[in-house]
């Protein structure tokens, strides 16, 4: 039995693409891509650490651009952000499939890797859409609108465009508590930030930094939410299907004061 070659990378998307580059460059037969943080407990393997190389990553990415339409390329990035264990290898097979067919005639949904990637990308897309909906900004004394979230997948990079386009005239921060980083808009550009203030124990901003009317508007929103409910149509199952409980923690309307 030929041994697998384990390619370890730093967890970044460019790092992953560098692995893909290496698979082609060195014609690796049985590659297995893993994050360095993942444990390797297989016996008969060769391990190699792949250094992230932006130029190589870009070559792979540009190569894909020539072969497939934009949404399909974006699906690769989305599926990567799912952080599902082993998704790198499904993605590799998906990418090989693209490079190996001479002409792209669309998606073969009966191929299991293609189906898998399109399903995972859809899951990530759904989470992105949920975050666009469930982010609740709280206004601070220094005029920042701050929201904290714990998305299932690492979707913050996908949210930038939407929030930047929409809230172009206000400063805002969206912080991912689970992954310990956030995106910040300062009226000019977007920055990735890490703040010591937030932790898994301190998941939101304190009331003493709220702007003057912040509490009032939270209360108004809550009473609005309560008054639009129609009791005679109560349907808890549907409610929870649309608004799964794991998101309630950050939704003003689902919490008491």
């Amino acid at each position: 039995m030929a041994p697998h070659t384990i390619l370890q990378y730093d967890g970044s998307f460019d790092g992953f693409l560098s692995c893909v580059f290496m698979v082609y460059e060195q014609k690796i037969q049985l590659p297995l891509i893993q994050k360095q943080s993942e444990e390797n407990n297989q016996l008969f393997t060769i391990s190699e650490i792949v250094h992230t190389d932006k130029t190589k990553a870009k070559r792979v990415w540009d190569g894909l651009r020539k072969k497939v339409p934009k949404p399909q390329k974006r699906a690769i990035f989305k599926a990567f952000l799912s952080e599902i264990k082993g998704v790198e290898n499904t993605l590799l097979s998906y990418i090989q499939n693209i490079f190996d067919t001479s002409q792209n005639i669309g998606l073969d949904y009966s191929n299991k890797d293609i189906l898998k990637i399109s399903q995972v990308a859809k899951m990530v897309q759904r989470e992105k859409h949920r975050m666009e909906a469930f982010v609740r900004f709280k206004k601070t004394k220094d005029d920042y609108y701050v929201a904290t979230v714990e998305p299932d997948f690492n979707v913050l990079p996908l949210l930038i465009r939407h929030f930047k386009d929409r809230y172009a005239d206000q400063k805002w921060i969206i912080y991912d508590i689970k992954r310990g980083y956030g995106i910040c808009y300062n009226l000019i550009n977007i920055e990735f930030i890490t703040v010591d203030f937030f932790s898994k124990l301190r998941t939101t901003i304190e009331k003493d930094v709220y702007s003057a009317q912040e509490m009032d508007f939270q209360k108004l929103w809550k009473s609005y939410y309560d008054s639009v409910n129609i009791k005679s149509r109560k349907n808890s199952k549907l409610h929870i299907q649309h608004l799964p409980k794991r998101y309630w923690k950050y939704l003003i309307e689902k919490n008491e004061y």
Partner: protein, 420 residues
């Protein structure tokens, strides 16, 4: 502003507006211009959901619930003894902007009871929209109610600030309307609808010639009908809906199961359950008409005046049309695939893509995600196993019902016991 007073008004005027089901914020794409506030995306976003599972996308309120009319089906009717309130124009503007900036909402849906006159009311609704657009540079979604009987000049102005305009026809038949809303005339509803339709057509034509012609009500117009208040059949409702779709280019017709709110003896008793399942079947029918290429006569006609409650309208049609089946998954065109029970439009596109590469068999179809428990009796694919048999539609229906679980099961047993 006095917070407690605002909060009280908000409760009253949101409570009164909630019977309007439309909460769409989709269908318009407006970019954020020069760092102003907000935009609208073609998809629309539901920011929250009520405990009854409805989407909360817009701040949906009445400007006031004072009303000079006395329509039996309406909570804000003149004769109803309830708390009344009215917002000031600026209050609505402030609420909308503050909620929007916190990402609570996609925009505003403003309706109103009719006070003084139709034009007086409509003028105020327009003033809110105008202020939002011109003073606050607000690019979010605005849905205004067209007040029945409004003059053409005002309707013309309304569409310049609103994304969507709607008039609720409420009662699907003219006779029903006479009975329950004696103050309102059918023509009063039709007039603003017609005006909006014509303006949309005219502005579109002008835009073709002059690029910077403003957009008029870019999300079109919609209407709503109450279901189960006046004993109309599903056929009556859907024929009326089709009429509004065709005649006024409606973007959407909404169906709202009657919620008993009055002891009036012209209406069903106060203990009547909300016909949620019937409402669901009507929406399914609406979808089949708009996206699946069905014609109304196929789904509802003189022999089939009401929709089945225990099965969906597509399955019901398929059981009545055995000559169409079985459909060959690997050969049938898009329109025919869309007619198979258990196959939705998403699956239709996936099937068409996938079969370019190979012939599809049962396991492919399962992976694609079609509902085989219904579909398998109506299709053949690349496999020797066929479930399509020449059994009678009644037996087939029983087989399918036995082998599937419906979330509406509890309704069937209730509804059956009524007749036993």
């Amino acid at each position: 502003m006095s917070f407690d007073r605002i909060r009280e008004k908000l409760s009253i005027l949101a409570d009164a507006a909630k019977y309007d089901v439309s909460c769409a914020s989709s269908g318009v794409k407006r970019a954020n211009k020069e760092k102003s506030l907000g935009n609208t995306t073609a998809m629309g976003i539901c920011h929250s959901y009520t405990e009854d599972g409805r989407c909360v996308s817009l701040l949906k309120i009445l400007l006031t619930n004072h009303c000079i009319f006395d329509c039996a089906y309406c909570v804000t009717r003149k004769s109803n003894d309830i708390k009344r309130a009215a917002f000031k124009i600026q209050e609505v503007v402030d609420l909308t902007v503050s909620f929007y900036r916190r990402n609570y909402i996609e925009g505003l849906f403003l309706s109103s009871g009719i006070f003084k006159s139709s034009d007086y009311t409509m003028e105020r609704l327009i003033a809110v929209a105008k202020k939002l657009r011109l003073e606050e540079n607000f690019n979010g979604y605005i849905h205004l109610k067209s007040i029945p009987g409004t003059s053409d000049e005002l309707m013309r102005e309304a569409g310049l600030y609103a994304d969507r305009l709607s008039v609720n026809i409420e009662i699907p038949t003219v006779s029903g309307l006479k009975l329950l809303a004696p103050d309102k005339k059918h023509e009063d509803f039709i007039k603003p609808m017609n005006k909006v339709k014509n303006e949309i057509i005219q502005y579109k034509a002008e835009r073709k010639l002059l690029k910077n012609t403003p957009k008029y009500a870019p999300a079109g117009q919609s209407t709503q009908m109450i279901i189960g208040a006046t004993g109309e059949s599903d056929r009556d409702i859907m024929y009326s809906a089709t009429y509004y779709y065709k005649k006024f280019n409606m973007r959407r017709v909404y169906y709202s199961g009657y919620i008993p709110i009055s002891k009036d003896d012209r209406l069903p008793s106060i203990h009547t359950e909300v016909p949620i399942l019937r409402e669901n079947r009507l929406y399914q029918t609406d979808w089949l008409l708009r996206f699946y290429g069905f014609s109304i006569q196929e789904l509802l006609n003189d022999d089939h005046k009401n929709l089945d409650l225990d099965i969906d309208p597509k399955l019901s049609w398929a059981l009545r049309s055995p000559e169409t089946f079985p459909v060959d998954i690997n050969k049938a065109d898009k329109n025919l695939l869309a007619r198979v029970p258990g196959i939705g439009m998403q699956s239709v596109y996936k099937i068409i893509q996938a079969r370019k590469f190979r012939k599809l068999n049962w396991s492919h179809l399962k992976a694609i995600g079609i509902s085989l428990n219904r579909a398998k009796y109506f299709i053949t694919c690349d496999s020797k196993d066929s479930y399509h048999k020449d059994i009678s539609p009644t037996r087939l229906k029983n087989v399918i019902l036995r082998n599937s679980y419906s979330k509406h099961q509890k309704h069937f047993s209730n509804q059956l016991s009524l007749f036993s």
